[in-house]
C-alpha cells in the first residue's frame, strides 16, 4: 500500500503522510486510550483542565470554519469590550473548559492582536514579527495540526519577547507593576512547586542545586502554543486583561493555584489550571525587568503575590502602592529575593557540579554529552540569545531548559549560593497561604508539604511542561510523531463528567460545621469537608410506591378470587326440612296396628288363612326333602341335633322345629345327641326337650344325651367333625357321654344317621355345613332355620350340601300337616299371615305416601322455579 485514503474526504495521500493533503484531516486516528478515563474522580478533586486545542485538527472542515468565524467575532467583541473596560472593574468570568481550547486556538490563530494588547505586551510585536508573512499561514496550519508546524519555526527567544514588552510596560503599566516578576524567580518557584509533590518530599530537602532543573524548564514564551493562547480567554472579558502585564503566555484559568507562579509557557497544560490572578501575575512577569533592584521588585511583588490577588483585576489601579510589609507573607518576601535564587542558575552553566543529583539522573547524557550545556547560560543575560535558535544537537530536555534561562536575572558573578536558600525553601508552600491564614509560618508550610500530598494541579505541570516544551521547541522526530498519537488526555470537561467515586453529598453551607480546616491543603477553608460518614444519611431513602402494579387481567382474576372467597364465606340458606311425623307416633301407630291385628287374630283363634300345602311347595321341595330325609333315618339311630340359636328367637325356633322333630321322634324314635355351639344352646335344648317334645317322653341319658356347649366356635365345630369324642368327651352333666346309650357305636360324625341343625343364624348354619358337611358321610343334614336365616341357607340346599331345609313358620306348617292338623304352627298361621299382610300393607301405604309427598314436593319446586326469576 503506497497510499492511504483520507477517511474524511477520500483523497488519496501518500502512505507516510500524517494529514490529508486535501482536508488536512488526520489520516491515522488517535487511537490510544484516554488517560485517566478509568480513574474515578475523588471527592473534592477538581478535574484537571486540559487544553482541547489539540483536538482542533480532528474536527471537520465545516466545524473549524464555523469556529473560526466565532472566534473572529469573539475577538472583535473582546477588543471592543477591552477598550470599554479599562476604567471599570469587571468581574472575572470563568471561562468554560469546553471553550478553553477554542479560545486558545483563537488566540493562536488570531494574527491581529488588539492594539491595547500590543501596547501592553511586548509579545505582540514579537509575534507579529515572528508571524510575519508566510508565518501566519504556518501558524494557522500549526493550530490545525496541533503544533505540527510550530517546530518548524525557529524557537523564539525569550529575550525577543521580553525586550519588546518592556517598553510598553514601562509606558502603560503602573509603576508598581514594573519591577514585578523577575522571570528567573518566577520560574524557579513554579518549577519548584511543580516538583514539590512529584518527587517525594525528600526531594525538597535536597541540595539547593535542585532548583536548577526548575530553572531549566523552558519558558518558551514565543512558542505560541495553543495552550499559551488560553490567556486570551481571560483577557477578553477581564478588564484586568487590558493591563499591559498580560501577555499571550499567561494562563487563562482563574484559579488560586500557586502554580500560577510557574511560567505559563513552559507548562501549557497546567497553565490552563492556573487561576486568573496568577495568570495575570504571570502575564506581568515580562514586565519585570531583571535589572530592577531587588527592593523594587520586592515592593512590586508584594501586592501581586497576596491573596487578595483575586482582586487584582478589580483593584488594579489601587495596587499601585505596595502593601505594608507586615501584610506580606513570607513566601512573597521571597520574591524580593529572587535575584538570589537566580544566582544558581548562573552556576548551572558554569559548573556541572552544581547540578543536582536528580537532574543528573534525569538527563545524564545531556549533562555529559553536551559540554555546552552551560552555553545558554551566558546568553541568558544577553537579549540576543532569545533569537538564537536552539542548537539542533542539543538534547530535547536541554533545549527545553534553555528558554527558561533568560528568565533568570543576571546573577552575581560570585554567587554560588544554592538555588534554594533557606528562605526560598518555604516558598513553595506559598500557595497554601491561599487556603490558610496569613499567620501560617513557613515552618508549618514545610511540614504541611512534607506530610501530605500536594493537589494534582500542583503536581501535574512539572513533568508535562518538560515534555511539551521539548515537543514545541524541537522538531518532532519519528518517535515524537509516535508520541503525537500517543494516548490523549481527557479534556477537562470530560473529566468533569467522570463519575465521582463516592456519593457523599456536599454538606450544606449552613450546617453547623463551620470550622475552618486547620491543616492540610484545605487549611483555611470552611465547609469543604463533609461531616463524615455515618453522621448523616449519604442519600435519601428511595421512595417506593406502595401501589401494586397489576394488569387488567390480574385485577380481573383477583376480583374473581375475591368473589369466590366471599361466596365461600357467605352463609348458604338451607331449605327448611319438611315436617316429618314423629317416629315415636309412627312407632305407636305401627305397634297398635300390629298388636291389634296380629294379637287380635291370634287371640281370636281365627283360622282364616289356609296353611300352605307341601305339595305346592314353591321352594323346590326343600321341606319335602327334609321330611323324606326322616324316612331315611333308621329306627333308634343316633341323630345329632345341634341347637345353635339365641334365646331371643327361641319362640320361633321352637315353633319351626317342633313339627319336624316331633315327626321324626314319632316316626323313627332316634337316639338324640344334643349339642350346641352357643353357651345358651344347652339350656335352650333342655327347654325344648322339656317343652315341645315333652309329649314324646324322651328321657335324658337313655334316649338323648346332652353334650352341652361346644367351645371354640368354628374350630370347635371343625374339631368335633374330625373327632367328636375328643372334642366333647363329657356330657353336659359331666357324664361319659360317648359311653352312654344315645352315643353307643358313635365315634365319628359320620356315624350319626342324621345331623339336624337348628339355627337362627346363617353364619352358624354355614359353619356346620362347611366344617361338618364334608365329613358327614351318608348322614343326612337337615337345617331348621329361622325365617331370617333361611334365605341365606337355601343355596346350600340347592347345591345339595343340605338334604332338607325347614325355613320359618311357613315350612313348619307344612311339616305339621303331615302328622297334625291343628298344631302350633297352625295356631300361629293366621296371626302370622295377618302380620305379613299388615307389614306389606304398611310398606305399600308408606311407599304410596312417600310417592305422593315426592310428587307434591316436585310440583312445588316446579312452581317455585316458575315464579322465581
Amino acid at each position: 500500500m503506497d497510499s492511504i485514503r483520507c477517511p474524511v474526504c477520500g483523497e488519496v495521500n501518500p502512505a507516510n503522510a500524517e494529514f490529508c493533503q486535501n482536508c488536512m484531516s488526520r489520516l491515522e486516528p488517535l487511537t490510544g486510550p484516554l488517560k485517566g478515563e478509568d480513574a474515578p474522580l475523588q471527592p473534592g478533586q477538581i478535574p484537571t483542565k486540559k487544553v482541547t486545542a489539540e483536538l482542533e485538527p480532528i474536527l471537520p472542515q465545516w466545524l473549524r470554519e464555523a469556529r473560526e468565524k466565532a472566534r473572529q467575532s469573539a475577538t472583535e467583541d473582546a477588543a471592543d469590550s477591552s477598550l470599554t473596560a479599562k476604567d471599570s472593574a469587571p468581574i472575572v468570568p470563568s471561562t468554560p473548559d469546553l471553550l478553553a481550547g477554542l479560545a486558545s486556538q483563537s488566540d493562536d490563530e488570531e494574527e491581529e492582536v488588539p492594539d491595547w494588547l500590543v501596547s501592553l505586551t511586548g509579545n505582540a510585536p514579537a509575534k507579529k514579527k515572528k508571524n510575519a508573512p508566510g508565518a501566519e499561514d504556518t501558524q494557522v496550519k500549526w493550530v490545525e495540526l496541533g503544533g505540527h508546524e510550530e517546530v518548524e519555526e525557529p524557537a523564539p527567544s525569550i529575550g525577543a519577547t521580553q525586550s519588546p514588552s518592556e517598553t510598553p510596560l514601562q509606558n502603560t503599566t503602573p509603576s508598581w507593576m514594573m519591577p514585578q516578576e523577575p522571570a528567573p524567580e518566577k520560574d524557579e518557584l513554579a518549577d519548584w512547586l511543580s516538583r514539590a509533590d512529584q518527587p517525594s518530599a525528600s526531594s525538597l530537602d535536597q541540595s539547593p542545586a535542585s532548583s536548577q532543573p526548575a530553572e531549566s524548564f523552558p519558558p518558551a514564551f514565543s512558542t505560541s502554543k495553543p495552550e499559551d493562547m488560553d490567556w486570551l480567554r481571560n483577557l477578553e472579558p477581564q478588564p484586568f486583561a487590558s493591563t499591559p502585564a498580560l501577555e499571550p503566555q499567561s494562563p487563562d484559568q482563574p484559579r488560586d493555584d500557586f502554580n500560577s507562579q510557574s511560567h505559563p509557557t513552559t507548562t501549557p497544560p497546567p497553565a490552563s489550571d492556573v487561576p486568573d490572578w496568577l495568570n495575570n501575575l504571570q502575564s506581568q512577569q515580562p514586565a519585570f525587568d531583571s535589572t530592577l533592584p531587588p527592593a523594587q521588585e520586592e515592593q512590586a511583588a508584594i501586592p501581586l503575590q497576596s491573596d487578595w490577588l483575586g482582586t487584582v483585576g478589580t483593584d488594579t489601579p489601587n495596587q499601585s502602592e505596595p502593601a505594608a510589609p507586615g501584610e506580606i507573607p513570607d513566601w512573597l518576601k521571597a520574591f524580593g529575593q529572587t535575584p538570589v535564587t537566580a544566582e544558581p542558575s548562573a552556576s548551572l552553566g558554569s559548573s556541572s557540579n552544581t547540578m543536582p543529583d536528580w537532574l543528573k539522573a534525569a538527563a545524564p547524557q545531556s549533562a555529559a554529552d553536551v559540554p555546552s550545556a552551560s552555553a545558554p547560560s551566558p546568553s541568558l543575560s544577553s537579549p540576543d540569545v532569545d533569537k538564537t535558535p536552539v542548537a539542533p544537537e542539543t538534547p530535547d530536555w536541554l533545549s527545553s531548559l534553555q528558554p527558561a534561562q533568560p528568565q533568570f536575572s543576571t546573577p552575581p558573578a560570585d554567587s554560588k549560593a544554592p538555588a534554594f536558600t533557606a528562605q526560598e525553601t518555604p516558598q513553595p508552600p506559598a500557595p497554601a497561604l491561599a487556603f490558610s491564614d496569613d499567620s501560617t509560618t513557613a515552618a508549618n508550610m514545610d511540614s504541611l508539604f512534607a506530610s501530605m500530598q500536594a493537589p494534582d494541579w500542583l503536581a501535574g505541570p512539572a513533568p508535562k511542561s518538560a515534555d511539551q516544551t521539548s515537543s514545541e521547541t524541537n522538531p518532532p522526530s519519528a518517535e515524537q510523531k509516535g508520541e503525537a498519537i500517543a494516548p490523549a488526555e481527557l479534556p477537562s470537561w470530560v473529566q468533569a463528567m467522570r463519575p465521582v467515586e463516592s456519593a457523599i453529598p456536599p454538606s450544606p453551607p449552613s450546617s453547623g460545621d463551620s470550622s475552618a480546616e486547620a491543616a492540610g491543603p484545605l487549611a483555611g477553608l470552611q465547609n469543604v469537608l463533609p461531616a463524615g460518614p455515618g453522621f448523616r444519611p449519604t442519600s435519601k431513602p428511595k421512595a417506593y410506591s406502595i401501589k401494586l402494579n397489576a394488569t387488567n387481567e390480574q385485577q380481573t382474576q383477583a376480583a374473581l378470587l375475591e368473589q369466590i372467597l366471599a361466596a365461600e364465606a357467605a352463609p348458604i340458606p338451607m331449605k327448611a326440612a319438611s315436617v316429618i311425623m314423629s317416629q315415636r307416633v309412627l312407632r305407636w301407630i305401627v305397634t297398635v296396628l300390629v298388636f291389634l291385628f296380629v294379637g287380635g287374630i291370634f287371640f281370636t283363634g281365627s283360622q282364616i288363612f289356609a296353611v300352605p300345602d307341601k305339595s305346592n311347595d314353591p321352594s323346590n321341595g326343600q321341606t319335602e326333602m327334609a321330611i323324606s330325609a326322616i324316612g331315611k333315618i333308621p329306627a333308634s339311630a343316633p341323630v345329632l341335633v345341634v341347637f345353635d340359636y339365641e334365646p331371643s328367637l327361641s319362640g320361633e325356633m321352637q315353633t319351626v322345629a317342633q313339627p319336624y322333630l316331633n315327626l321324626m321322634l314319632l316316626l323313627q324314635h332316634p337316639r338324640l345327641t344334643i349339642l350346641s355351639s352357643s353357651p345358651t344352646g344347652s339350656a335352650l335344648a333342655e327347654n325344648f326337650m322339656a317343652g315341645p317334645l315333652a309329649s314324646r317322653g324322651y328321657q335324658r341319658g337313655s334316649q338323648y344325651i346332652d353334650l352341652g356347649y361346644l367351645p371354640g366356635g368354628l374350630a370347635g365345630v371343625y374339631d368335633f367333625a374330625q373327632n367328636p369324642a375328643a372334642a366333647v368327651p363329657l356330657g353336659a352333666d359331666g357324664s361319659q357321654a360317648w359311653q352312654s346309650a344315645p352315643l353307643k357305636g358313635v365315634t365319628r360324625i359320620s356315624d350319626f344317621a342324621a345331623i339336624i341343625i337348628l339355627t337362627d343364624s346363617a353364619e352358624a348354619g354355614r359353619v356346620w355345613i362347611e366344617q361338618a358337611g364334608p365329613l358327614r358321610g351318608n348322614a343326612s343334614m337337615i337345617v331348621i332355620s329361622s325365617s331370617q336365616a333361611g334365605p341365606m341357607l337355601m343355596p346350600y340346599f340347592a347345591s345339595g350340601q343340605v338334604n332338607g331345609l325347614i325355613n320359618g313358620l311357613n315350612d313348619a306348617s307344612k311339616v305339621e300337616q303331615v302328622y297334625e292338623q291343628n298344631g302350633l304352627a297352625r295356631q300361629y298361621w293366621d296371626a302370622y299371615s295377618v302380620g305379613l299382610l299388615l307389614a306389606a300393607g304398611m310398606i305399600l301405604l308408606g311407599g304410596l305416601w312417600s310417592l305422593a309427598r315426592g310428587l307434591q314436593a316436585r310440583r312445588a319446586e316446579k312452581e317455585e322455579s316458575q315464579f322465581v326469576p
Binding site: F602, Y709, P791
Partner: protein, 219 residues
Amino acid sequence: MSPDLIAGFIAFLFTLFIFSYLIGDNPLFRIAVYIFVGVSAGYVGAVAFRQVILPDLFVPLLAGKALLIVPLILGALLLTKVSPRLTQLGMPTIALLVGVSAAIAVGGAVTGTLLPQIGATIELFNTRSAVLSAQFFGMIFNGAWILAGVITTLVYFHFGAHTTRDGAVRRFGLIELIAFIGSIFLAITLGVLFAGVYSAALTALIDRFHFVGTLFGLH
C-alpha cells in the same frame, strides 16, 4: 304359686319391659336388658367353667395330662388383656386363635361354600339328565336366572373405574349396566332378608302372645 307361674309372671314382666321400648328408651327396658345380659353372662360363664374348663382342662390336667399346661398358660395369658400394661402378653394366644380360625374358615369356605356353589351354578345347565320338555327349559331358565343374578351381583362389587374427561370417576358403561342389574338382585335379596327378619320377629311376637294367652288362659 307354682314355680312355673312365677316364672311365667317374671317372663311376662320382662316381656312388657321389652315392649316398653315402643314408647322410647326407658328404665324398664334397660332393666330387662341388663338382667338379660347379666343372666346370660352368668350362665355362659357357668357353662364355660362347668362344661369346658373344668372337665376339659383341670380334670385332665389333674389326672396327669401335663400337656394341657399349654392351653392353661395360653388361657391365663388371655386374662392379661384386662390390664392395658399386660395386654401384650395375651397377644400370642389371640394370634393362635385368629390364625387357626382363619385357616379353618378359609378352608371351610373354599371346600364347603365356594367350590360347591360354583359347581351348583354350573350344574344348573347340565341338561344331560333332563329331557326336552318344559322342565328342561324351566331348568335352563332357572339356571340362567341364577347365573345372571350371580354374575351381575359379582359385577356390582367390582369397583374398578376410570377418570372421564370431565374429571368424574366412573366405571365402564358395560360394567355399569351389569352392576345395575346386580343391584336389583341385591335389592331383592335384601328385601328377602328383611322379610325374613320381619317374619322371624313376627313369629316371636306371636309366640309371646301365645305365652301370655297360655299364662292368663286367654288362648
